[in-house]
């Protein structure tokens, strides 16, 4: 009756861009003990004062339904959509990855970056900053490969996502 397997969910939330709205969303997750794997927010329509929040979370089916319902109940929330179940969607994250190395390892880092279609956006004699976009998994894989090759720092944006096809959300 109660499905207890955990699953991941990428939830898109359209909100009024007003003070405190992010605090409401984050407070909801911390107050009710839901996971946040990734959260991004930015204004998407300045004229209509709308922001879009993308949250990657995980939980049982019942918990994810709860999360959606709890989000929808916040007064400034216009729409929520669990992209993971509501049809095909595109999910991307951008990361800046700093690697410091020399000699053969440096060449290897560059080679792998090339395979991952990462671009060097900064380089010095002994370092690179790579810019990479892709799915969460792809970026994690890239970062893992860079670890033995002199990984210094990673800065990730968190996931943004949008449904495929002509319809909104």
């Amino acid at each position: 009756m109660i499905k207890s397997e955990q699953r991941k969910a990428t939830i898109a939330v359209l909100v009024d861009n007003e003070p405190g709205v992010l605090a409401r969303v984050i407070g909801l997750f911390s107050g009710r003990g839901y996971n946040i794997d990734s959260l991004t927010v930015s204004e998407v329509d300045a004229a209509a004062h709308l922001s879009r929040i993308t949250i990657v979370t995980s939980g049982t089916e019942m918990v994810i339904t709860q999360i959606k319902a709890q989000l929808q109940r916040l007064v400034p929330v216009h729409r929520t959509s669990d992209l993971t179940v509501e049809g095909p969607y595109v999910e991307r994250e951008l990361a800046l990855v700093k690697v410091s190395s020399s000699g053969e390892t440096r060449v290897e880092a560059l080679r792998i970056a090339d395979i991952f279609r990462a671009r060097a956006v900064d380089s010095t004699i002994n370092s690179f900053v790579f810019e990479i976009t892709g799915s969460l998994e792809k970026i994690s894989a890239f970062v893992d490969l860079m670890r033995p090759l002199g990984l210094v720092d990673v800065s990730r944006t968190g996931v943004v996502a949008i449904s495929r096809g002509p319809d909104p959300i």
């Binding site: 109660i2 009024d16 407070g27 019942m62």
Partner: protein, 589 residues
């Protein structure tokens, strides 16, 4: 047009009046002095000066629950606002519409640790349905109107509006209540018709139906209670109510099987456990009601009507969820039922009722009044007898054993006449709540059924009763213990009564007198009736100190984490309690 310019305080007063507010419960202070000055200069809003801000919120809750209107609170910044946190949380848990106006330091001082500054919107974010900080006079009127809309529509709840002092003195223009729909917040009231048809299918084919209704029916207004009663009549289904739902079906209705849950009746809980179709109307499968989740009503198909999607499938997975206002949905269910000329299987229903009568015959609220001491149940049974036939009685309670006995032994024939703190269980709720009810219904008989521990939590409001000549009756079942705590310590902690004895109690008679009220005391069962009659006949506020048996426990009891059929009926069944109280259960509250 210069003459249209008003101060923020004047705009606030006008907005409140336009929202139909006639009374505020409040307490002044520096940040709200401009508002109090505007209140001084008008006569459309009545202000009730409470003695602690927490009392103001409970008073507003009592006012709201007994009228169906929004209760309004006005307090100062900092400590005034933080004192409201308990009441706001209480209103959130019990879905009570309250608008709480809090003063705030001037906008340019916010964030500077100014005198009596507190981050009120930050502190109250998790304990309100929504909150606002009004930073500009241009937003003031619209925000106040929106706050009322949010507080009372959908699933009702408390809303805080934080009002910086400079905004209250600034000049701006007024905006009347907007007809426009809110941009994002528009709760759905009509239920999905195909789901409603499914619900009727299930109900009509049920052999052991049960209606389980709660506070949402009270929230939906008296019409919803009437519709619930109609549906009970049409289907013939036994109907149980939660603590918050008492009064939604008349207690005297033949289908009423009593309150459900931890201290509910045997028949209600057995119906829950054994039914094959459960119609949940405006109740939220609270843990006091469900007991052990994996043993909850294992054989039933469940229909759940709730206006808040987050209440559905939260604790219990249901088969037919219907999102909507229960008045609308019940109306549609009845329409479909009638248009199909649906009927329950009469034979099955009759044998279901036979089973129920069997449970009922065991009289699960049974107690024995004997000897010199008043049993608390007896005190309430006698009180109930004195109230019979009157329709102007409002009961509030504090929290503890007395609250459960009040729920078991007092009869509620109508909605909105029963105020109790269910979700948060706030001791100190009952006296200020009764005060708010009495303000709304000056000629009614308002009784706070209290414990001697709880009553001390907001006893200062006796002064408010005196100031406004509010004749609230406080009926204390004095067992000299935090009885509910003592009961748990007896059952689950080997009788180690850690810090639950109420030592050094005041003399409640003198206490009443010192507040200008009448104090009565009774310990002799023979004199109980006279004292109750005297309490009712006294035109002023009264405290009645009823000395009751200190060792009495509330039965039946389903221990936390146990199943409905593991119900303990009486002291002789301690073994059942022991068996049912697992380690896991003991970790629950």
């Amino acid at each position: 047009m210069a003459q249209d310019r008003m101060t923020g305080s004047e705009i606030l007063v006008k907005a409140l009046v336009d929202q139909g507010v006639d009374v505020l419960f409040g307490y002044p202070g520096g940040a709200v002095l401009p508002i109090y000055d505007a209140i001084f200069q008008q006569n459309q809003l009545r202000h009730i000066l409470v003695r602690q801000e927490g009392g103001a919120v409970h008073a507003a809750e009592g006012y709201a629950r007994s009228t169906g209107k929004v209760g309004v609170v006005l307090v100062t910044s900092g400590p005034g606002a933080t004192n409201c946190v308990t009441g706001l949380t209480d209103a959130l848990m019990d879905s009570i519409p309250v608008v709480c106006l809090t003063g705030q330091v001037a906008t340019h001082l916010i964030g500077n640790d100014a005198f009596q500054e507190a981050d009120t919107v930050g502190i109250t974010r998790p304990c309100t349905k929504h909150n606002y900080l009004v930073k500009s006079i241009e937003d003031l009127a619209r925000t106040i109107h929106e706050a009322f809309h949010v507080a009372k529509s959908g699933r009702p709840g408390p809303v805080v509006v934080d009002l910086p002092k400079d905004v209250m003195t600034a000049l701006g223009s007024y905006l009347p209540p907007a007809k426009a729909r809110h941009r994002s917040y528009n709760p759905q009231v009509k239920g999905d018709l195909s789901r409603i048809e499914q619900a009727v299918d299930l109900l009509a084919n049920a052999k052991k139906p049960l209606i389980y209704a709660g506070g949402g029916v009270i929230n939906a207004g008296p019409a919803a209670s009437q519709l619930l009663t109609n549906l009970a009549d049409l289907t013939g289904a036994p109907t149980t109510l939660t603590l918050m739902g008492l009064g939604a079906l008349p207690a005297s209705h033949k289908n009423f099987v009593g309150m459900v849950g931890m201290h509910g009746s045997l028949e209600a809980n057995m119906c829950m456990h054994d039914c094959d179709v459960m119609l949940c109307v405006g109740a939220r499968f609270d843990d006091r009601v469900t007991g052990r989740l994996d043993a909850f009503s294992p054989g039933s198909k469940k229909i759940h009507i709730d206006i808040d999607a987050s209440s559905i499938n939260k604790n219990i997975a249901v088969d037919v969820p219907i999102i909507g206002d229960c008045a609308y949905v019940l109306e549609d269910i009845i329409k479909v039922w009638k248009s199909r000329q649906a009927k329950c299987d009469g034979k099955a229903l009759a044998s279901w009722w036979d089973e129920i009568e069997g449970w009922r015959a065991r009289d699960s609220f049974k107690y024995t009044q004997s000897g010199e001491v008043i049993k608390p149940q007896y005190a309430l049974e006698r009180l109930n007898a004195h109230l019979k036939g009157r329709d102007d009685v409002f009961i509030s309670t504090e929290v503890g054993q007395h609250q459960m006995w009040a729920a078991q032994f007092l009869d509620f024939e109508k909605p909105n006449h029963w105020m109790t703190s269910g979700g948060l269980g706030t001791m100190g709720y009952g006296l200020p709540a009764a005060m708010g009810v009495q303000v709304a219904h000056p000629d009614a008989l308002c009784i706070d059924v209290a414990g001697e521990a709880s009553i001390l939590m907001n006893i200062q409001e006796m002064a408010t009763l005196a100031q406004y000549r509010l004749p609230v009756k406080v009926f204390i079942l004095n067992n000299r213990w935090m009885g509910m705590v003592r009961q748990w310590q007896e059952f689950f902690f080997g009788g180690r009564y850690s810090e639950s004895y109420m030592d050094s109690l005041p003399d409640f008679v003198k206490l009443a007198e010192s507040f200008g009220a009448v104090g009565l005391r009774v310990s002799d069962p023979e004199k109980l009736d006279d004292v109750i009659a005297e309490m009712i006949a006294t035109p002023s506020a009264v405290i009645v100190d009823v000395a009751v048996d200190p060792n009495e426990n509330v039965y039946p009891m389903i221990p936390a984490g146990a199943a409905h059929n593991q119900i303990t009926m009486s002291p002789d069944e301690q073994a059942v309690l022991d068996a049912a109280s697992t380690d896991e259960g003991l970790a629950l509250v």
